[in-house]
Amino acid sequence: VLVVEDERALRATIAAFLEESGYEVAQAEDGQDALASLRTRLPDVVLVDLRLPTMSGTQFIQAMRADPRLAAVPVVILSADPYLADAAEALGARGALAKPFHLDVLLAVVDRVSQS
């Protein structure tokens, strides 16, 4: 799982929880960092915060979609945006989680998307 979240402490919490649940986790703090990570290894799921510095989550997902090698990687978006469901649909995301979320709910979504 690649976790793209600019808040370091939250990113580390998500990563630790997923690791304890048996996932391998890579972390990125913004869209550029995430694209660099994707060049070295393709994950089963990308968790991405929509509000990121330099390159926003939306721009990052659009960049993924424009790259044939990355276009099919499932994305789950994390956001406090009240129009989260609309954003998820528009971006072709496989899941969306409103912040703040229960870690178990996050895990259930990651399980579902990674196994489908």
Binding site: T13, F17, H102
Partner: protein
């Protein structure tokens, strides 16, 4: 031993201004008690916190961006924690992990779902949560249950509260009643002819019931505490109380109900020592009722409703009078005036001393740390 105490993050915890609620009073006393036994305490709280006896590292948590818990009549609605709440507790977790090699236990006191959720992932550091509130919010109840399943130890502050949480499927490891430092509370042998309401002014504390009961019992009432819920204050109290924020004990006789604002704890304890009775007509199942033990320690009998933990904290007919019906409150207030004020203090000294509480927590810390 080194303990990290996790405070509610929605306001800075400071000893140079009046405490915002019972949990802050509790934390001050617990820190004082632990420090006196040589325990090193780190208080993980909102930026701007400062408390004698504890180090308060800056975590980058702005309390102004977080939301107070809704404890009112609609509290059973799903609480909408802010995203910042989750981030704030993630920062607490980050600090704990960075200092894990010298920490023995993390002891949390916050009533937010992310507090339970995020602190589950502490890579083996023992975590204890004290549940200072009833199980009124489904999101918090679920997070607490999952935290217990993951190995966190949950402590209730009364048998009544433990039963309420257990009834919601949340396992309670232990009941540790709150305590106060009785020796530091001045005793009032002679009441000064007023009843007292002390606590946050919000629906569940029933201040407007106290106003009516005191009037019917023929006693003036002093109300002291913070306006936690401004809408409640406007709708139920503003026109029924005289607000005198500059009132002092030397201002002479009172009439009716007087709201004197939010005062320093020492001043509230002084008011308790002078109160003929302290009224607690609570409209929820009080999980403990710290005001009750403070008031009794100061010599004031407690009169209120027989709900939640109050029957555990008040010795019925000896240190207070608890009733079920508001219509019985005025008679209960008059009966309370006849009780022995020294017996009130003795009851607290015997059952709710700070020393007793600190010993119980230290034993729990040692157990989970081993």
């Amino acid at each position: 031993m080194h303990v990290a105490l996790v405070a509610p993050l929605v306001w800075p915890i400071r000893d140079d201004r009046p405490p915002l609620g019972g949990v802050e009073v509790f934390l001050r006393d617990l820190i004082g008690g632990l420090a006196a036994t040589g325990v090193r305490v780190s208080l993980l709280a909102a930026d701007g916190s400062r408390l004698a006896g504890a180090e308060t590292p800056r975590l980058g948590i702005d309390a102004g961006r977080l939301a107070l818990a809704n404890l009112g009549p609609d509290a059973d609605a799903e609480r909408s924690d802010l995203p910042e709440q989750q981030t704030a507790f993630a920062r607490v977790r980050e600090w704990c992990l960075a200092h894990a090699s010298r920490l023995d236990v993390v002891h949390a006191h916050a009533f937010d779902a992310p507090a339970f959720d995020v602190l589950r992932v502490l890579r083996g550091l023992p975590v204890v949560h004290t549940l200072h509130l009833p199980p009124i919010q489904p999101g918090v109840v679920e997070a607490a249950r999952r935290a217990a399943e993951a190995g966190s130890r949950l402590v209730a502050v009364s048998v009544a509260s433990a039963r309420a949480w257990q009834a919601m499927g949340v396992p309670i490891a232990e009941v540790v009643p709150n305590g106060v430092d009785v020796a530091s509370i001045a005793f009032g042998a002679e009441p000064r002819g007023y009843a007292l309401f002390a606590g946050r002014l919000s629906a569940e504390k029933g201040a407007e019931v106290a106003v009516q009961a005191a009037a019917q019992a023929g006693l003036p009432l002093v109300l002291v505490g913070n306006v936690y819920d401004p809408t409640y204050f406007e709708q139920h109290l503003a026109e029924r109380v005289e607000t005198r924020l500059d009132w002092t004990m030397t201002d002479g006789r009172l009439a009716g109900a007087t709201y004197i604002g939010h005062r320093e704890r020492s001043e509230v304890l002084g008011l308790m020592a002078g109160a003929a009775a302290t009224l607690m007509p609570v409209r929820w199942d009080e999980p403990f009722g710290l005001v009750a033990i403070e008031a009794q320690a100061a010599g004031s009998p407690v009169v209120g409703f027989e709900r939640g933990a109050l029957p555990e904290v008040v010795a019925q007919g000896r240190t207070g009078v608890l009733v079920r019906d508001a219509a019985d409150l005025p008679r209960a207030v008059r009966a309370g005036l006849l009780l022995d004020r020294r017996a009130c203090r003795g009851w607290v000294q015997e059952h709710f001393s700070l020393q007793r509480m600190v010993e119980r927590y230290l034993a729990l810390y040692r157990e989970v740390a081993s």
